[in-house]
C-alpha cells in the first residue's frame, strides 16, 4: 500500500517535471524571449539589457532552467515584469480568490451531480430521467461565457437581484466577496454538475445491469437498501477518477468565467499576463495550474486505493 502511494506521488512529480520542461522549452522555442516579447518595440539598448540582467537571460538556457527550477522548488517563482514585483506577491491573493470560487462550485456540484445522476439512472427512460437528461445536455454543451453572459443579463440586469460584475479589490475578505461569487459559482457549477451527473448515471446503470444486483434482488434485499449497499459503492468507485479528470479539465473554464465576471482570480491573471506578454508569470501559472491538476488526480487515485477492497487485499497478500 505504502509503496503504491509513494509510486503515485513520484509519478505526479515526474509529470510536473515534464510540465516545467515543456513550458520552459515552449517559451524558449517560440519566437522572441521574455524581454523582447515584453518590451516589444522598445526592445533595444539599455532597457533591454537591464531586463536581460534582471531575468538573467544572459546566461545559457540550461543553466537558467536549473536555477529557475531550483527557485521554484523553494517556492520562488521569480519576478513579474508587468506587475513590477515578485510573482509570489501577485499570486497569493489570486490563488485564494480562485480557490474560493472553485471549491464553492465543487461543494455544490458534486452532491448535486450525485443526486441527479442517481435519480436519472434509477428512473431510466422515465420522465425524471428525460427531463433532467435534457437539461444536463444543455448545461454541458453551452460554453461558460454564454451561460455567464445570460446569467448576468437575466439575474443582474433584468431582475437586478445580484451584482453582475465583480468590482472589488484583489485582497477583499471572504464575506465581502460572498455576494459577488454567487453568479460565477452557478456558471461554473452548472457545466461541472452536468458532466458529472451524466457519468454517475451511466456508471449506476452499468452496475444495475450486473449479475450481483440481480442476485441481490433475488435474495430479497429491499430496493433502497440494495441501491445504497450494493449499487452505489460499486458504481461510484470507478467514477471517482473520471470525476477528478472532469474537474481538472473544467478549471480551464474558470479562466473564462473569471473574465466574464471580472473576478480577481488566477484565471484573469492568465489573460492579463498573456496580454501583457509577461512570460515569467505565465510560466509560474503553468506550473501552479498543472500542480492543481496533478494533485486532484492524485487525490482521486488515493481515494480509489483506499476504498477499493480489491486493491487493499492485493497488498495484504504481499
Amino acid at each position: 500500500m505504502l509503496f503504491l502511494i509513494i509510486k503515485r506521488i513520484l509519478l505526479g512529480f515526474i509529470t510536473l517535471f515534464i510540465v516545467s520542461l515543456i513550458t520552459f522549452v515552449g517559451t524558449e522555442v517560440l519566437p522572441g524571449d521574455a524581454c523582447t516579447t515584453y518590451l516589444e518595440r522598445e526592445a533595444y539598448g539599455a532597457a533591454l539589457e537591464a531586463c536581460y540582467k534582471r531575468l538573467g537571460l544572459d546566461i545559457p538556457a540550461y543553466e537558467r532552467y536549473l536555477s529557475w527550477a531550483y527557485n521554484v522548488i523553494q517556492g520562488d517563482f521569480g519576478y513579474s515584469l508587468s506587475g513590477q514585483m515578485p510573482i509570489n506577491e501577485v499570486l497569493g491573493p489570486r490563488i485564494k480568490n480562485s480557490m474560493v470560487l472553485a471549491s464553492a462550485a465543487i461543494i455544490i456540484g458534486i452532491p448535486l451531480a450525485l443526486i441527479l445522476g442517481i435519480i436519472t439512472a434509477l428512473w431510466r427512460d422515465k420522465l425524471p430521467d428525460l427531463a433532467i437528461s435534457t437539461i444536463t445536455i444543455f448545461a454541458m454543451t453551452i460554453p461558460e461565457f454564454i451561460s455567464a453572459t445570460l446569467l448576468i443579463l437575466i439575474v443582474a440586469i433584468w431582475l437586478q437581484w445580484l451584482p453582475g460584475i465583480v468590482i472589488v479589490p484583489t485582497d477583499v475578505t471572504f464575506f465581502e466577496l460572498l455576494p459577488n461569487i454567487i453568479l460565477p459559482v452557478i456558471a461554473i457549477a452548472m457545466i461541472m454538475t452536468a458532466h458529472m451527473a451524466r457519468m454517475v448515471r451511466s456508471s449506476v446503470i452499468q452496475v444495475m445491469a450486473s449479475d450481483y444486483i440481480q442476485m441481490a434482488i433475488l435474495k430479497g434485499v429491499p430496493y433502497w437498501k440494495m441501491v445504497f449497499k450494493h449499487v452505489l459503492p460499486n458504481a461510484l468507485l470507478p467514477a471517482i477518477n473520471v470525476v477528478a479528470l472532469t474537474i481538472a479539465w473544467l478549471l480551464g473554464g474558470v479562466v473564462v468565467t473569471e473574465v466574464v465576471f471580472n473576478y480577481p482570480g488566477l484565471g484573469r491573471l492568465v489573460i492579463e499576463s498573456i496580454s501583457n506578454r509577461d512570460l515569467p508569470t505565465v510560466q509560474a501559472l503553468a506550473i501552479i495550474l498543472a500542480s492543481i491538476y496533478v494533485s486532484i488526480n492524485l487525490i482521486a487515485d488515493l481515494l480509489t486505493l483506499a476504498l477499493n477492497p480489491r486493491l487493499k487485499s492485493l497488498q495484504i497478500r504481499k
Partner: protein
C-alpha cells in the same frame, strides 16, 4: 395436491422486437414442482430454461414481459406480486444459486456481511446467534476455516469457494425451494463433482425442493429425480430421470444423448444436423422439424401437444415417439478410424520449460535465469505424423501454454521444440521461416473471438491463402469455395459476416481457415468448449473426417475428458505444468494409473444415473506448482511422505503401457487402486 410447491401454468414470456413483433422465449409452459424433489431442466443456450427458473421466483428480466400464464407459489401468482411482497418470498421461501458466483457476489461487501444480510432479512435471529449461524452455514457447505472466510471479499476466493458461499447464502433463509442456474458451469471437473455431491447432500439433509437448470446432462443426471427437456422455448419431454436418460422417446433428447461423448465409450458421438432455431422464427409446425430424422409431413404444419405416456410416466411432444420407444442404442457411437501411425516423428518436445515471469533487465544482461519454478517444466513428448494427441488437465495445468509455445506465441525458457527432426521451433515467431509458420495452424476455443467481426467469410479465408500461396483473383475464389465445401458450408456463406453465423458455423469457418494453409499440424485449443453439445458432436466428426482425408496431425487441448476420449489416439495428463501420465487413450482411460489421472477420471459426470463420480482427493485449488518434489503432492491421497515432497518422481511404465511420473511402485499402485 398439497405436495405441490410450485405450479407453473400456461406460462408464456417474450419480448417485442424492433419491428414490433411479439417474440416468445417461453411458449405455454406448464409443470409442477413437488415437495422434496429435485427437478432438472435441461436445454441448449436459448432454450428458455433460465427464463423459466427466474419466472419461478417472480422475476422477469428487463426487456422481457409475461404474455400469459402464471407461476403459483402457495396458491398465489408470483408474476402478479409487487416488489414489496416478493422481497418477503425471495431468499426466504425461494432462493437462487446463480451460475457465476464470482460475478453474483457484490464485490465491495465481505462474505460474512452478505450472508448476514440474508439472515437479517429472512430470520429473527439475534446478533450473536447470527454470527454463529454464519459459521454453521459456511461449515455446512464445507468451506475451510469459516471464521476467516467470512472476513474475506468475494474476489479473494477461488471459483469453487465462491460457489459454496452462494450455496450458503441461499440456505440462510431456510428456503422451501432452491433454484440453481447452471451452478457448476465454469468450474473445474473435480470441483464440479464436489459441488454436486454437496448439493445432493443438502437436498437430502434439508428436504428442500430443487430446480436444477443446466445444459449439462451429465450434471443433471447426478442430481435430479425428474427431468424436463426444453427446446426452443417449449417442454419437449418430461419424466422421471431414469426413463428420460435410458429411454429418450423424443427425437431431440434421443439425438442429444447420442451426441454426448461418453467416457465409457470409445469412438465419436453421433451428430445432430443443424442448430436450434432463433426465437420467433418458428411460426407453425414442430420446432424440431428441421433437424428431425423421423419427421413426417404433418409435423411441418401441426405442432404436437405434450402427451402423457403412462407406462414410462413420461410426457412427450412428438407425433412419432413410438418409433423411438423400442430403440435401444443410445449407448453407441461411430467407430473411428484408427490413425495410421507411420512412426514418423513430426514434432518433438525435449525438456521444454515455459515461464511467464518477466526477466529483470540486469538478469537479462548477465543471462541469469531467476525463475526456478516455471509455469511449465520438463515436458517431453514426441508426436508422430498423423496421430491425434490430447493434452488434458484442469485450469492452470499449462496445457494451453504448451500449445502457445508450439505455435511460437510464447518463447520457451529451456528445452527444444523440433519439427520434422531437423527444424528448430524453439525460437519465437519472428525468427520462424514462412514454411514452418504455414505448417502449424491454430484453432481457438471461441469462434466469436477468433474471427474478426469486421471481415466477411471470404476475407477471413483469403488471408492465409494470400499470405502463404499468394493467390488472387479467380484462383483465390476457387480455393475459398473448395474450403467452404470441405467444412460443409455453401458458397453463399462467402459474403456473410461472423455475426450472421451460428456458433457451429463460425467454428467451421475457423476450421476452414486453419486448413487453408495446408498445415501438417493443427493445434486445437478447447475447440468445442464454447459450442452446444449437439453442435460439438458435428464439429468433432468434421475434424475427424478432415484428418482422415488429409492426414493432418492434431494436438488437441481440452478440459473435457469425454471429448478427448472420443477424438484422441494418445493422451498426456498434466497437473500444474508438469506431466503426470502419458499413453494411448484406450489404456489411460481403462487403466488410469497416476493418482491424478485417477482423480480426474473419477470426477467426470456421465449422463447415466447408474454411473456416479468417485471423489478421491480434496478439490483444493493450488495457485503455483510446488518448488520441489511431485507436482501433485498437495492433493494426492496416496502420498508416501517426504520422498514425494522432496524428489522429482521418476518415469515408470505400467503394465498397460502407460508412462507415469510417480514415486509409488507401479505394482503397489495397481494393488491400491483395485
Amino acid at each position: 395436491m398439497s405436495d405441490i410447491i410450485q405450479k407453473v401454468k400456461n406460462l408464456s414470456i417474450g419480448f417485442r422486437s424492433k419491428k414490433g413483433e411479439e417474440i416468445l422465449i417461453l411458449r405455454n409452459i406448464s409443470t409442477n414442482i413437488k415437495k422434496g424433489e429435485t427437478v432438472g431442466i435441461v436445454g441448449e443456450s436459448g432454450s428458455g430454461k433460465s427464463t423459466l427458473a427466474l419466472a419461478m421466483m417472480g422475476y422477469v428480466k428487463q426487456g422481457l414481459y409475461t404474455i400469459d400464464g402464471e407461476c403459483l407459489f402457495e396458491s398465489s401468482n408470483l408474476l402478479k406480486k409487487n416488489n414489496r411482497e416478493l422481497e418477503k418470498i425471495r431468499g426466504r421461501k425461494i432462493a437462487m444459486i446463480p451460475q457465476n458466483a464470482g460475478q453474483s457476489l457484490t464485490p465491495n461487501l465481505k462474505i460474512g456481511y452478505q450472508i448476514d444480510e440474508a439472515l437479517r432479512l429472512h430470520t429473527n435471529l439475534k446478533n450473536i446467534d447470527r454470527d454463529k449461524r454464519i459459521s454453521e452455514l459456511l461449515k455446512k457447505v464445507r468451506l475451510p476455516s469459516p471464521e476467516t472466510i467470512a472476513l474475506r471479499y468475494p474476489h479473494e476466493l477461488s471459483g469453487g469457494q465462491q460457489q459454496r458461499v452462494a450455496v450458503a447464502m441461499a440456505l440462510a433463509g431456510n428456503p422451501e425451494l432452491l433454484l440453481l442456474d447452471e451452478p457448476t458451469t465454469g468450474l473445474d471437473v473435480t470441483t464440479q463433482a464436489h459441488v454436486l455431491e454437496l448439493l445432493n447432500f443438502i437436498a437430502k439433509d434439508t428436504g428442500t425442493s430443487m430446480v436444477y437448470v443446466s445444459h449439462d446432462l451429465g450434471a443433471i443426471a447426478q442430481v435430479s429425480d425428474r427431468i424436463i427437456v426444453m427446446y426452443s422455448g417449449e417442454i419437449v419431454l418430461e419424466g422421471p430421470s431414469r426413463s428420460i436418460l435410458k429411454k429418450p422417446i423424443h427425437p431431440y433428447t434421443y439425438g442429444l444423448l447420442k451426441s454426448i461423448p461418453k467416457l465409457s465409450l470409445a469412438g465419436l458421438p453421433d451428430s445432430m444436423p443443424g442448430s436450434q432455431p432463433q426465437p420467433g422464427s418458428i411460426l407453425k409446425g414442430c420446432s424440431f422439424f428441421s433437424r428431425c430424422n423421423i419427421g413426417e409431413d404433418k409435423c411441418k404444419n401441426n405442432s404436437p401437444e405434450l402427451e402423457y405416456i403412462s407406462d414410462l410416466k413420461t410426457s412427450v411432444r412428438c407425433f412419432n415417439y413410438k418409433s423411438l420407444k423400442n430403440k435401444d442404442d443410445i449407448s453407441s457411437s461411430i467407430s473411428r478410424n484408427e490413425a495410421i501411425i507411420n512412426e514418423k516423428e513430426i514434432l518433438n518436445l525435449t525438456n521444454v520449460s515455459i515461464s511467464y515471469a518477466k526477466q529483470k533487465l540486469i538478469d537479462q544482461i548477465f543471462n541469469k535465469t531467476v525463475d526456478t519454478n516455471p509455469t511449465v517444466k520438463d515436458i517431453n513428448i514426441n508426436i508422430n505424423k498423423g496421430e491425434t494427441i490430447a493434452l488434458v488437465g484442469e485450469s492452470g495445468s499449462g496445457k494451453s501454454t504448451i500449445l502457445k509455445s508450439i505455435a511460437g506465441l510464447l518463447k520457451t525458457k529451456d528445452g527444444k521444440i523440433r519439427f520434422e527432426k531437423d527444424r528448430d521451433l524453439s525460437s519465437n515467431l519472428k525468427q520462424r521461416k514462412p514454411n514452418d509458420l504455414r505448417a502449424i495452424q491454430l484453432i481457438f476455443q471461441n469462434p466469436d473471438e477468433s474471427l474478426n467481426p469486421n471481415h466477411n467469410v471470404e476475407e477471413i479465408l483469403s488471408q492465409p491463402l494470400k499470405l502463404y500461396f499468394g493467390l488472387s483473383g479467380k484462383e483465390l475464389n476457387k480455393n475459398i469455395i473448395e474450403l467452404l465445401e470441405k467444412v460443409r458450408l455453401g458458397e453463399f456463406y462467402m459474403s456473410r459476416y461472423p455475426r450472421q453465423l451460428s456458433g457451429g458455423e463460425k467454428q467451421r469457418v475457423a476450421v476452414a481457415r486453419a486448413f487453408a494453409a495446408k498445415p501438417d499440424i493443427i493445434l486445437c485449443d478447447e475447440v468445442t468448449s464454447a459450442l452446444d453439445v449437439s453442435v460439438q458432436a458435428a464439429v468433432l466428426n468434421l475434424l475427424q473426417k478432415l484428418k482422415d482425408d488429409f492426414g493432418t496431425t492434431y494436438i488437441f487441448v481440452s478440459h473435457d475428458l469425454a471429448v478427448v476420449r472420443a477424438i484422441s489416439d494418445r493422451v498426456a495428463v498434466l497437473y500444474q505444468g508438469r506431466l503426470c501420465e502419458i499413453g494411448p487413450s484406450k489404456n489411460v482411460y481403462q487403466f488410469p494409473s497416476h493418482p491424478y489421472t485417477e482423480v480426474l477420471l473419477g470426477a467426470v459426470l456421465e449422463p447415466d444415473p447408474d454411473i456416479k463420480p468417485k471423489l478421491v482427493a480434496e478439490d483444493i485449488v493450488e495457485e503455483k506448482p510446488p518448488e520441489q518434489g511431485c507436482s501433485f503432492q498437495g492433493r494426492c491421497s496416496r502420498i508416501l511422505g517426504e520422498k514425494c515432497k522432496k524428489e522429482t518422481p521418476p518415469w515408470q511404465i505400467t503394465k498397460s503401457g502407460n508412462a507415469i511420473k510417480c514415486h509409488i511402485n507401479v505394482n503397489d499402485l495397481e494393488k491400491l487402486q483395485s
